[in-house]
């Protein structure tokens, strides 16, 4: 299993994501200016502040050459995980529905949050149980998930709402407490909290590892 982690100018958590992914497989960094995805089995669009988050989080990064390849890769059914800024980039790129707006509390906020696994059957949560709670840190300034009512309804109907904040922990004001969504095809998933920062008991919880393990299971299933 080979993960590719994108690196934009201004990415911050790309090495963390690489470290986390390398616990379940091989992980390489993919430079924003290169179109070659190096035959990876899954792409991670990491957190941080690509292009300083100037204008809007993710707005500039989505135009980078590597993103053209990622859009193609996703179109062919490749697994794509967007974390935090990566989630924002995927929304801006149209790979995921909705948008991430500035936090309702108007501040960058770092907090360990508890997430409900709404959809355990996905390629990103197959190692979780329905209703299970994952303890994972969140840290962002623009994490308020927004989509119009019709889209939200459709997301719920199609099982695209994968993770929700415990209602009391939804500090960013996301609609319907949405913390993570997938696309209709199920191969692209974005979430605001940082599973790559929850893969080692020494530095926090290990609940985030389940996301990466699920991806490995999905990728290996696809190969088999």
């Amino acid at each position: 299993m080979k993960f590719g982690v994108l690196r934009f100018p201004g990415s911050c958590d790309e090495v963390d994501a690489q470290l986390a992914a390398s616990k379940v497989g091989e992980a390489v960094l993919l430079w924003h200016g290169d179109r070659d995805l190096q035959d990876v089995d899954a792409v991670i669009v990491p957190g941080g502040f690509s292009y300083g988050d100037y204008l809007r989080a993710g707005a500039i990064a989505r135009f980078s050459p590597v993103m053209e390849s990622v859009v193609e890769f996703a179109g062919d059914g490749g697994l794509v995980l967007g974390i935090c800024n990566g989630f924002q980039v995927l929304c801006e790129a149209g790979l995921l529905p909705g948008a991430l707006l500035p936090n309702a509390n108007r501040r960058f906020t770092f907090r360990q949050v508890s997430l409900e696994v709404v959809e355990p059957g996905t390629s990103f949560t197959s190692e979780c149980e329905a209703g299970e709670r994952l303890s994972i840190p969140a840290k962002h300034g623009s994490g308020r998930y927004y989509a119009d009512e019709a889209t939200l309804e459709a997301l719920e109907q199609n099982g695209q709402v994968v993770l929700r904040y415990e209602p009391a922990e939804n500090f960013n004001g996301s609609l319907r407490d949405i913390a993570g969504v997938r696309n209709e095809a199920g191969n692209v998933f974005g979430l605001m909290p940082h599973p790559e920062h929850a893969v080692d008991a020494l530095t926090g919880s290990t609940d985030g590892l389940r996301i990466f393990e699920s991806m490995r299971a999905a990728a290996e299933g696809a190969h088999a």
Partner: protein
């Protein structure tokens, strides 16, 4: 040519920044202010203003959540 693009949150979308300003005003002694909405303003020099629509829709604003308005600025008026 100098141009200005005004980007504002779409109606119905919560604007916490605007709300905070609205809440802060009475304490500073300013009453009678309401419906505060905060958006972005981009000003630029552009050779071909016909590109502005595309630049705005693709980059400067996210049409899902924002509306934009283009103003061409008369250099004389500046």
């Amino acid at each position: 040519m100098r141009a200005r693009v005004l980007v504002r949150p779409k109606e119905g979308i919560l604007d916490p920044q605007g709300e905070a300003v609205e809440r802060a005003l009475p304490a500073l002694g300013f009453g009678g202010v309401s419906e505060v909405r905060i958006g972005r303003m981009v000003e630029l020099e552009i050779d071909d203003p016909s590109q502005l629509e595309e630049i705005s829709g693709k980059l400067l604003a996210n049409p899902l959540v924002e509306d934009f308005e283009i103003e061409l600025l008369d250099p004389a008026a500046q």
